[in-house]
Symmetry: C2
Subunit: 192 residues, 2 copies
């Protein structure tokens, strides 16, 4: 089997696991159940994923890694400060809309991770928060945004992340429109 | 046993359950484990709580009910529009800070509720969202706040709710200060 075949099968198993964990909880999903859903015996399943905790780790880490890579790419481009934060918000909401099960599992279950796995996920999440802080700081330096408290980033990410709970891909707004609506309110303020 | 004794014991069991569910997940916590933690046999445990799902329902519903009661009380007072939304935010953050385990269980696990229990919790949550919308609408009518999209309420609640994941009661800010920080940014805007 080629590396590509392995990776594709692994991604398929992780996607199925994300759906199962999102529906029945991480602790409520057995490894045997995952095998049945993926059509794989115990040996093949372990070949692709190693352990149930390894799957939770992959589900949690891969989306955050992908958001970090996206933020790094945007921070490297020569964007205006406001455009940068808007693009970061849109990128996150697009990703959440496309991977709702993965984000639900991440937010609900990452505390079930232990040891280094947990540390890696927390570090990746803090890195992402750091990129947001960097983007806001860029805006302050460019005199586009005002200086705001450090913890405000957690509020902004709360606004955006929480969409995993309510965003309907078939609803009235695209992920970009939701991101823009939130950023409009936040940047302009809601005072009359 | 008096009604008061029953209620006090019930509240104690629900508090212990919230801690266990928050730590090990709803599906990962057995009813026997809850009995051991509460120092109650199976019969006594069922006497106080009925079933594991009934406990999850109580954990999820009671905090939302308490926030609805608080919002109703504030909406009845003769507060300025901005003061009203600030007080609602502070009330929510105080409650989350005091009941982090309950809110964690609610956000992570309410989807495990079935049938009418699930409906009741969703209805209570929608009622709370409705009170926020009403508070913002009051502000628009009073020309204190500008008209904003209906879905912005979900962003504001995301900002506030998400604190259950990161707020440290022993940290640098009180719940009121976090609420004010978020509301300052949102009301004034973060543009320079």
């Amino acid at each position: 089997m080629t590396v590509t075949g392995f990776e594709a099968n692994r991604a398929r198993v992780i996607g199925i696991a994300a759906e199962l964990f999102a529906r029945n909880g991480y602790h409520g999903t057995g490894i045997a159940e995952l095998g049945t859903a993926a059509g794989l015996g115990r040996g093949a399943l372990y070949h692709y994923i190693g352990s149930k905790e390894a799957v939770l780790y992959s589900i949690s880490k891969e989306q955050v890694d992908s958001m970090n890579a996206y933020a790094e790419q945007l921070l490297d481009e020569d964007l205006g400060a406001e455009e940068l934060v808007r693009r970061m918000a849109r990128g996150l909401l697009r990703n959440i809309a496309e991977h709702r099960a993965e984000w639900a599992v991440f937010f609900r279950e990452y505390t079930a991770l232990t040891g280094e796995w947990r540390d890696h996920v927390i570090t990746a999440r803090e890195r992402y928060e750091g990129y947001w802080r960097q983007a806001l700081d860029n805006g302050v330096r460019a005199k586009v945004l005002r200086q705001t408290p450090r913890l405000l980033v957690k509020g902004i990410l709360g606004m955006l992340n929480y969409t995993y709970l309510w965003y309907e891909p078939d609803g009235e707004l695209t992920p970009d429109e939701v991101a823009d609506m939130f950023l409009d309110a936040l940047i302009e303020g809601i005072r009359a």
